[in-house]
Subunit: 229 residues, 2 copies
């Protein structure tokens, strides 16, 4: 197969995905939802972060989660145990979630009007970057055990994300990780990326994360009101 | 695009790759090389492990490295600084190395007859599993910061690997990581997988790794002699 033919096929797949993502986005806006698509390497701590966040956020608004993994429904079970509805998608051989999977899974969740939908993508710092799911924005979760250089080595995910959450900061004293350098590298790839440093294990930094989510809600409300004028 | 058409295209791509991988394997056998294809998540410590291993192995045999990353040539520079020839492949948008990339890169290395070629694949616990590069075998490197459940959630890489190296064991006392459980999960996916526990930072476990490599060399020699009879 020629390289040109392969590029055409990739474009077909992305075009089809983008059409379905636009439909999803229409549904999410109609339901007044904030939708965050979480991307990271396997083991960066997305699920632990979500379990803590949804346990606390569910007291003030509707929260739901769509979990993506190649296999197992362990993650959805962990979220459900925190008292929040969760749907598991198993992607099998596939290395990322796509918009059609999200459209189907969203129909299996209860109505979350005015709330937050978190999507935990398959653990993969490359492929999910290219696929719009209809989300409000992408969030990259990045653990300090991975080394400062990952934004430079895997730039697409960092370029596509609005927020970088640096996780496992409770391990900072034991590892030679330079937070300033990691932020500098991420901003070389994406000068506008927001950064929040947390420990999903201890809860450090979560107040800043919730304040950031509130700002996104405010921004979405203003965009909606501007459109209505 | 229909699902059937997509499966056909994937098969075309894999068939083409397998043909080139067979050529690579022929070259490697002719040069009496052991070739290890290292797979892991980003940040599991493949490069740190390789820097230590090649520094020690180069005293007794020829060693070379092919490094794969989406961007940057940081990793090849780290290997070269250890006094071993290294070629960097930047895959751009691609999420894995393929056999054609390895064929090209191998021609840019000096002759390593009777030695070892390490291939550090792109940090990705999913996609590289499907692509034969012509290697002797695949090795999955898995850091204890990632959680015990990764073999169940990303089974393909563990099923395709002959050896699982559990890295960062120096952090074990600080994390709740159950080595026995991780091994049990990996063997559920691949009952024959060998396991070695190391710390690339302190050097713990590397003697076992070198002994394992020697066993692979012995096995290859015997296979070669059997063929010659």
């Amino acid at each position: 197969m020629t390289r040109t033919r392969l590029v055409e096929i990739e474009r077909d797949i992305l075009d089809k995905n983008n059409g379905i993502a636009a439909n999803n986005r229409g549904l999410f806006v109609a339901d007044d939802l904030l939708v965050f698509n979480l991307l990271s390497s396997p083991g960066a701590g997305k699920t632990t972060l979500l379990v803590r966040a949804v346990s606390e956020l569910k007291c003030s608004r509707w929260v739901g989660v769509i979990e993506g993994d190649q296999q197992t429904s362990n993650d959805a079970k962990r979220i459900q145990a925190a008292g929040v509805p969760a749907v598991q998608i198993n992607t099998g051989k596939n290395c990322h979630l796509d918009a059609a999977m999200i459209g189907d899974a969203y129909r299996r969740l209860p109505l979350l009007s005015g709330g937050i939908l978190f999507i935990e993508n398959v653990g993969n710092l490359i492929c999910p970057a290219a696929f719009d799911l209809g989300e409000t924005c992408k969030i990259v979760v990045f653990s300090i055990t991975e080394g400062e250089d990952k934004p430079l080595k895997y730039p697409d995910v960092f370029a596509a994300s609005s927020l970088m959450v640096i996780n496992k900061i409770d391990l900072a004293s034991l590892l030679e990780f330079d937070v300033g350098k990691a932020i500098e590298y991420a901003r070389r790839v994406n000068p506008k990326i927001d950064v929040i440093v947390v420990s999903a294990r201890t809860g450090e930094g979560f107040a800043a994360l919730y304040a950031w989510i509130d700002r996104q809600a405010g921004r979405q409300r203003r965009a909606f009101e501007d459109k209505g004028r």
